[in-house]
């Protein structure tokens, strides 16, 4: 195996598109006795029909319940006897998959992966199990103040935009999903075009590429298929303040989310927003927000900020878990910090701190096979170029205080913030 540079780049990442438009990315790690497979294909909850919300999640859970060749038991006998794992997920814009195994078991893992992608069987008994699992998940989530505050925020901010949909669905939509729905949705979404997979670990990338070629090359692209991702609009901010609360009885802690829309991943504002967000609510003990809410006022165990940037835009939020009695005080403090952040440039020292943080932690994010695989997929998904990670340091260095202020003022408008909460605000009857 060829020795690799500490930071992956064009000379040690193998990128190999197949004729059917599957894209393979590989990087070796001769110190690792195991391998990671990670990938995605277009789809996800954005394609859930309005009356079948949760369909993407349901489908991702149903894929491994049997194929035309192997039963559920046989699939998991192979995986678990080898100490391997494989799983599927549904994101907003794509279905994802990930697995890992000892390097000696890579052929088995790849063989199962392609069989499940192409020939799932959806046995009805398993679909009944999954439906009940999803319904119970909804019940459990309804008691989770953190998750419910996030849902309230997304629904209030995105309104009818697909980003406001609940990817787990509802009792009604999950109960309505049939085997025929799942088969049709699988046929619609699961095609080789746009499927991207990364293999990282104790295998030579050329050997991994050969295995991918063997397993995936006879999967013909469906040229007559309808477009998988119809056009959706970009996200738009609220025009005025919005307040939404979900009351959940008998909860000690109230979860609070305040924010607005954020930049899309490929926009020029993305990197300034990432660094700015770090100053606002990540750096050290959760940045400025952590400092004022946790350290100075002792109001919360966690209080920080998060930027979510996707293809159509995203969100920029401040979150905290607080005692309900401190709701007003905490929201006032957060509003004041957002106002300062969106109206004044960050301090030069703050910016130099977060630049050093982002530049310094890069090797830490690349120490595991899964970490590298994740970076390779991000590079491919957003067309960042194979030397993106090696150029990252320079890209960070170029960000200015003015760019951060421009991003903050463009998205975090103090007079049009969404405030969402979940927990117990009403006194017990």
């Amino acid at each position: 195996m060829k020795p690799s540079h500490a930071i992956p780049g064009s000379d040690d990442i193998l990128r190999q598109p197949l004729a059917n438009q599957v894209v393979f990315l590989g990087r070796g790690n001769d110190q690792s006795p195991s391998v990671v497979i990670s990938g995605y294909l277009p789809g996800g909850s954005i394609l859930d029909p309005a009356d079948r919300s949760g369909l993407g999640v349901y489908l991702s859970m149903a894929l491994m319940r049997g194929t035309k060749k192997h039963s559920f038991q046989q699939i998991y006998d192979q995986l678990e006897s080898a100490g391997a794992s494989l799983g599927f997920s549904s994101g907003i814009h794509s279905f994802g998959f990930s697995g890992r195994a000892l390097a000696e078991d890579l052929p088995m893992l790849l063989g199962l992966l392609v069989e499940i992608l192409r020939f799932p069987d959806f046995p009805q008994t398993h679909l009944d199990q999954i439906r009940d699992q999803l319904l119970t998940s909804l019940s459990i989530r309804a008691q989770d103040t953190e998750e419910m505050a996030d849902i309230a925020f997304d629904q209030a901010l995105f309104n009818n935009h697909p980003y406001g949909r609940d990817d787990l669905g509802s009792v009604e939509s999950i109960s309505a999903i049939t085997q025929a729905d799942l088969i049709a949705h699988h046929q619609r979404c699961f095609k080789p075009q746009g499927l991207t997979l990364a293999i990282v670990g104790g295998v030579d990338p050329a050997r991994a590429a050969d295995l991918v070629q063997q397993h995936f090359s006879d999967w013909s692209p469906d040229t007559a298929a309808a477009q998988r991702s119809p056009e959706f609009p970009k996200t738009t901010p609220a025009a005025s303040p919005i307040r939404k609360h979900i009351e959940i009885a008998e909860k000690s802690q109230l979860n609070l989310v305040i924010g607005s829309t954020g930049p899309e991943r490929k926009s020029a504002e993305f990197l300034p927003a990432v660094l700015g967000n770090c100053i606002l609510g990540e750096f050290g003990m959760m940045g400025r927000i952590g400092n004022v809410v946790r350290d100075e006022n002792g109001l919360a165990y966690y209080a920080g900020s998060e930027l979510t940037s996707l293809q159509l835009g995203g969100s920029w939020t401040v979150s905290a878990g607080i005692n309900p009695e401190n709701f007003e005080k905490t929201t006032d403090l957060i509003h004041a910090e957002i106002s300062r952040f969106s109206s004044q440039p960050v301090e030069a020292e703050e910016l130099s701190d977060v630049k050093a943080y982002f530049q310094g932690r890069m090797p830490l994010q690349l120490e595991s096979n899964a970490g590298i695989a994740g970076q390779l997929l991000t590079i491919e998904r957003y067309d960042l170029g194979l030397d993106y990670l090696r150029n990252y340091r320079d890209q960070i260095e170029k960000v200015t205080r003015e760019e951060i202020l421009a991003a903050a003022s463009a998205y975090l408008k103090p007079d049009a913030l969404v405030t969402a909460s979940a927990g117990t605000l009403e006194p017990a009857a």
Binding site: A6, N29, Q31, S32, P33, S34, Y76, L79, E80, S81, A82, G83, A84, S85, R100, A101, L102, T125, D128, Q129, D132, Q133, T136, S139, I140, A142, Q143, D144, T145, I248, E250, K251, S252, Q253, F283, G284, M285, N291, D295, N297, G298, L299, Y302, I322, N323, D353, A356, Y357, F358, Q359, G360, R361, M362, P363, L364, L366, E367, S368, G371, G423
Partner: protein, 431 residues
């Protein structure tokens, strides 16, 4: 990759474990103290965890807010954990920056201020942390079953402590706890990463040797005898979902029986991973309990867990019930599988699978340098590092008879606690 470990004990009693790993230009530096909730007494529960928080609230050299930012500024990641037997602080950093982590850990080993205003601010932060946990039905069920599983041992109380104690613990209580237990003689330093061990040991000696040794007063902790009869607890609360948790006293982490228990756990509920970082997990769909609990739709999900602790702690099976079934049905199904295991009805294939799963989980864990430094210290908290390096060979030596004996000895129906979380308006009508 070399598996060689360099060890030393400084004159002040600080133990040092170093492992060179040259796969990435980073170093993970940990300091472990032999103090956790096991060392707490009634009225002072949660004090170890609170002291851990206070270690971020400043010394004269690194005032509050400076310390965590200093590590981040140098591209490091950091965190701290308090557990039953130990408290640990770590930073993983670019190798050329590691001196910062060395300096600040040596500094806060002796110079933390515990300013009264910082103590009061942190009191409400910790109460908030506990309130966040109380929101979760599983925390409430764990707290009730742990308490029922012990009559007097501190393992019966959650690490975060009881609310009444968190309201009354004083600044002097915290400072006394810190001065007593944060002695170099009560600490283990572990480091893994891209360094030359001999040179690094000299650097560590130079910085840590100046921390004076302090005598540690220890409160005797007596392990409890097994339960004499089954105990049951029920927690009621909001929601629609019923949770079940069965716990039994397990062997101590250093006991030979922990290995048959690990095999039993893998066979019964799927393998538990003891890795803290970068491990991944293996599903449990071919474990003994999957068919009767999940495929037959008695339950929605389940898992088993054991811990490696100084004194015997707990083996636990947690089940999320299907809304159409009662927890007693799951208890009966678990009993049926345990009966089979106790009678030795275990296939060679199941034994081999358990060993391979353990080998795979260990391989996944070695990818991550932080995880390797973690294992160096974690094992020293309840045994020796050899426990880790010999784990897979130890599992290979486990026989069917060993697993059956451990099931019969530890997982007896009359020595368990059955805990249930039931919603006020349980659909089964039993709440």
């Amino acid at each position: 990759m070399s598996d060689q470990i360099i060890t030393a004990t400084l004159d002040n009693g600080l133990q040092v474990f170093l492992k060179e790993i040259h796969t990435a230009p980073i170093i993970s530096h940990w300091v472990w103290y032999r103090v956790g909730s096991r060392n707490e007494t009634a009225g002072k529960t949660g004090i170890s965890h609170w002291v851990e928080h206070m270690q971020f609230k400043g010394t004269p050299k690194y005032p509050a807010g400076v310390l965590d930012q200093a590590v981040s500024r140098d591209g490091g990641v950091w965190n701290a954990f308090t557990y039953l037997d130990w408290t640990a602080f770590f930073a993983t950093m670019p190798k050329e920056k590691i001196d910062l982590s060395i300096d600040l850990e040596a500094d806060r080993m002796q110079n933390s201020l515990f300013l009264p205003e910082e103590v009061e601010s942190e009191r409400t932060v910790i109460l908030s942390e506990r309130e966040g946990s109380e929101n979760e039905p599983m925390f409430r069920l764990n707290e009730a079953t742990d308490r029922a599983a012990f009559d007097h041992h501190p393992y019966g109380i959650e690490v975060i402590g009881e609310k009444k104690d968190l309201l009354s613990i004083s600044r002097d209580d915290l400072y006394e706890h810190y001065c007593n237990y944060y002695s170099p003689a009560n600490a283990v330093l572990t480091m893994a990463g891209d360094f030359e061990a001999k040179e690094m040991l000299e650097r560590l000696q130079k910085r840590y040797q100046e921390v004076p040794e302090r005598a540690v007063k220890r409160i005797p902790v007596t392990p409890e005898a097994p339960l004499k009869e089954e105990r049951r607890v029920t927690v009621e609360g909001p929601g629609e979902t019923v949770y079940l948790r069965l716990v039994w006293r397990a062997p101590a982490g250093s006991a030979a029986d922990i290995f048959p228990l690990a095999v039993l756990d893998s066979i019964l509920t799927g393998p538990s991973s003891l890795n803290m970082f970068g491990s991944g997990s293996i599903s449990n769909k071919t474990s003994r309990l999957y068919q009767p609990l999940i495929e037959d739709q008695v339950a929605i999900a389940f898992n088993g867990s054991y811990n490696t602790t100084i004194d015997p702690y707990l083996y636990a099976i947690t089940v999320i019930m299907h809304p159409a079934h009662q927890p007693e049905e799951a208890v009966a199904l678990i009993d049926r599988q345990l009966d089979q295991i106790r009678s030795g009805k275990i296939s060679l294939q199941e034994m081999e699978k358990a060993v391979k799963q353990a080998r795979a989980l260990f391989a996944y864990g070695t990818e991550n340098i932080t995880n390797q430094a973690y294992w160096l210290g974690y094992t020293e908290m309840f045994d020796k590092y050899a426990w880790f390096s010999e784990f897979v060979p130890s599992l290979k030596k486990v026989s069917v008879e060993d697993v059956a004996r451990v099931a019969a000895q530890y997982l007896r129906p009359d020595q368990r606690v059955i805990g249930m979380y039931k919603p006020y308006l349980s659909k089964g009508g039993s709440a």
